[in-house]
């Protein structure tokens, strides 16, 4: 099976999630006796082929053009579709990032193939099977592609490992054929949130705060802890609805469904809609003053206590460990 991976870059840097996808693509190609390639779009991005080669790409289709400097699903959709045709892709992989989720259906609809969202595990022995959470993780469905039919997948960030699997990573200039008039939905402006940390959908550590935070000003202490661990700040819906933090931080069934390596819930009770969004995290820490809070049922480690006492100490201890070690 020939596998094409869409490699996402921002400011000329590849996303970790794209290397994860590349590693999955390599495995899928090896298991089915095919080859794996990547497509990368942007301006001044040709140098990224090397890193993709290291993660398993034999070929890297590079669309280096001012038309791709700013993401648009029109231009990127056309170009990735073109790369898929040139390569003869039978499987098309995207990361389930904000961009991946916007782009993937544009491409698969163009190619007339099916798309499976948010895959969290893949089995290749004795037939290919994909597993994905539904109902925000309350259940998992296992599905198989139809024999001989090409398909697309988006892969949940942070669940697949990045593997070293050096291949040629031969850069091939993509004859994309995109013209300015193809861009129908035009980005006019980007407003970057001030001092914004990572997005919760991609972060490997999430420090989340709920109603127990008491007010917007207190998110500072979570930001400090998140910054110390290279993570992102999340929230429950109660905190979002109170207007303490923007909806893009909401974790849960009607927010983002996340699977980070470490999820730290501060002042969050653990309602079913919140648990649905985070209970597949590898390690969960709960900090709550109510020992009966349902969040403790899913916690790997729990501290029953006042978050305003615990969190600053936690930040200090992490800092001490980093400098002391």
């Amino acid at each position: 099976m020939n596998v094409l991976v869409f490699a996402e870059q921002r400011d000329g840097k590849l996303k970790k999630a794209s290397l994860e996808a590349m590693s999955v693509g390599r495995d899928l190609a090896d298991a089915t006796g095919g080859s794996a390639a990547a497509v990368v779009l942007g301006q001044g991005v040709a140098g990224l082929a090397e890193a993709l080669g290291k993660a398993g790409a034999e070929k890297v289709f590079v669309g280096d053009d001012a038309l791709f400097a700013q993401y648009s699903n029109d231009a990127y959709g056309l170009a990735v579709g073109k790369a898929a045709q040139v390569f003869g892709a039978e499987a098309l992989l995207f990361s389930a990032t904000a961009m991946g989720k916007d782009l993937a259906p544009k491409v698969t609809a163009r190619l007339g193939i099916g798309l499976l969202s948010d895959v969290t595990s893949i089995v290749t022995e004795g037939g290919i099977l994909f597993r994905r959470p539904i109902y925000a993780g309350k259940a998992f469905a296992t599905l198989a592609p139809q024999t001989g039919k090409p398909f697309g997948l988006t892969l949940r960030p942070n669940v697949f490992p990045v593997k070293d699997s050096p291949k040629a990573g031969e850069a091939v200039s993509l004859d994309h054929g995109v013209v300015p008039g193809d861009i129908k939905a035009v980005v006019e402006k980007i407003i970057t949130a001030q001092g914004e940390l990572l997005d919760v959908a991609e972060a490997n550590v999430i420090v989340s705060g709920g109603r127990g935070m008491k007010g917007p000003e207190n998110y500072k202490i979570l930001e400090e802890l998140a910054r110390e661990m290279g993570g992102a700040v999340g929230a429950s819906r109660a905190a979002v609805d109170a207007g303490w933090i923007s909806h893009s931080h909401q974790v849960g069934q009607t927010g983002k469904v996340v699977s980070p390596g470490l999820y730290i819930a501060c002042g969050i009770s653990g309602a079913i809609q919140h648990l649905a969004g985070m209970s597949s995290s590898k390690v969960i820490v709960a900090i709550n003053k109510d020992p009966e809070a349902p969040i403790f049922k899913v916690a790997t480690y729990g501290i029953v206590g006042d978050l305003f006492e615990v969190v600053p100490l936690f930040t200090q201890a992490v800092k001490a460990m980093k400098t002391g070690a």
Partner: protein
């Protein structure tokens, strides 16, 4: 169809105060988010028990947006769903909120419709309806696909803007605010287009008593595969369902004890040595 709509709209909206906008809103009928799930006896599907089925929460933003545009510009709001007879409940709800017309796309061939089939059914239906703008939800809770709106737009050859939290009309274009990683993006798209609606776009209204009464009298059209010129064989799912499982229960955790500063020290040690998480 689509080009006609565009021509009509640019004539209408170019000069007159009476610009009318016909909006098509895609609505999915889903179990509410409180629902607890079990694996059904066949091991392939879910047993949703006595789940309460509702309009997909994100689609409420789409309906509300359609209604606000209609109130400002005139025109009609049509709600459409692909689903079984029970999905009429969600259509009625949208009619009660103030939508003018409703279409139920229902056929045995649609029962296992995945996002790609659903989008093709909706595209076939949209081609028969006057629509200057198509609104969908950001995602359908349960299926969690986040695909249908985008697939539909691509199929119809019109622009798609997803995860929209703000909308302003500028002539025959829309200025849209959308959520991206670490910020917001302002995107301009010309009509007709597909917009997927995210929380923050508006506050969906509750149906009034009058609205509920009026909705009872509104007719819901039912369209089958044949009415839409669709070949049931072509609607087979792209992936074959093999198994349904619940997530494994999480192993029992450790609730720490002692003085808080000591607990925190132990926590950091456990995270580092045992869980290797930091």
């Amino acid at each position: 169809m689509v080009t006609c709509a565009l021509a009509r709209l640019s004539v209408r909206m170019g000069f007159s105060e009476e610009a009318r906008m016909n909006v098509l809103v895609c609505v999915k009928h889903v179990p509410d988010t409180e629902t607890r799930v079990k694996v059904a006896a066949d091991g392939l599907h879910l047993d949703l028990g006595e789940a309460n089925w509702v309009v997909n929460p994100y689609d409420e933003y789409a309906v509300e947006q359609g209604l606000q545009l209609k109130e400002k510009l005139g025109g009609e709001v049509t709600v459409i769903t692909v689903g079984g007879d029970d999905a009429t409940k969600s259509l009625r709800q949208a009619l009660a909120m103030g939508a003018d017309k409703a279409v139920l796309c229902s056929d045995p061939a649609f029962e296992d419709a995945d996002p790609w089939s659903t989008a093709r059914i909706l595209a076939a239906a949209a081609a028969k309806l006057p629509c200057d703008l198509i609104l969908s939800g950001k995602h359908g809770v349960g299926g969690d696909n986040q695909q249908v709106g985008s697939l539909l737009g691509q199929l119809m050859g019109i622009p798609v803007v997803t995860v929209v939290t703000g909308m302003d009309l500028e002539g025959t274009s829309l200025m849209l605010k959308r959520e991206v990683e670490g910020g917001t993006e302002m995107v301009k798209a010309s009509l007709p287009c597909v917009i997927s609606c995210q929380k923050g776009l508006n506050e969906p209204r509750y149906p009034s008593l009058k609205g509920i009464m009026a909705a009872k009298k509104k007719e819901i059209a039912t369209w089958k595969a044949a009415d839409l010129g669709l070949d049931p064989a072509a609607l087979a799912p792209s992936f074959q369902l093999k198994k349904m499982e619940l997530p494994p229960p999480r192993p029992a955790g450790k609730i720490l004890s002692g003085e808080i500063p000591d607990q925190v020290k132990e926590l950091v040690k456990l995270l580092h040595d045992e869980a290797k998480a930091i």
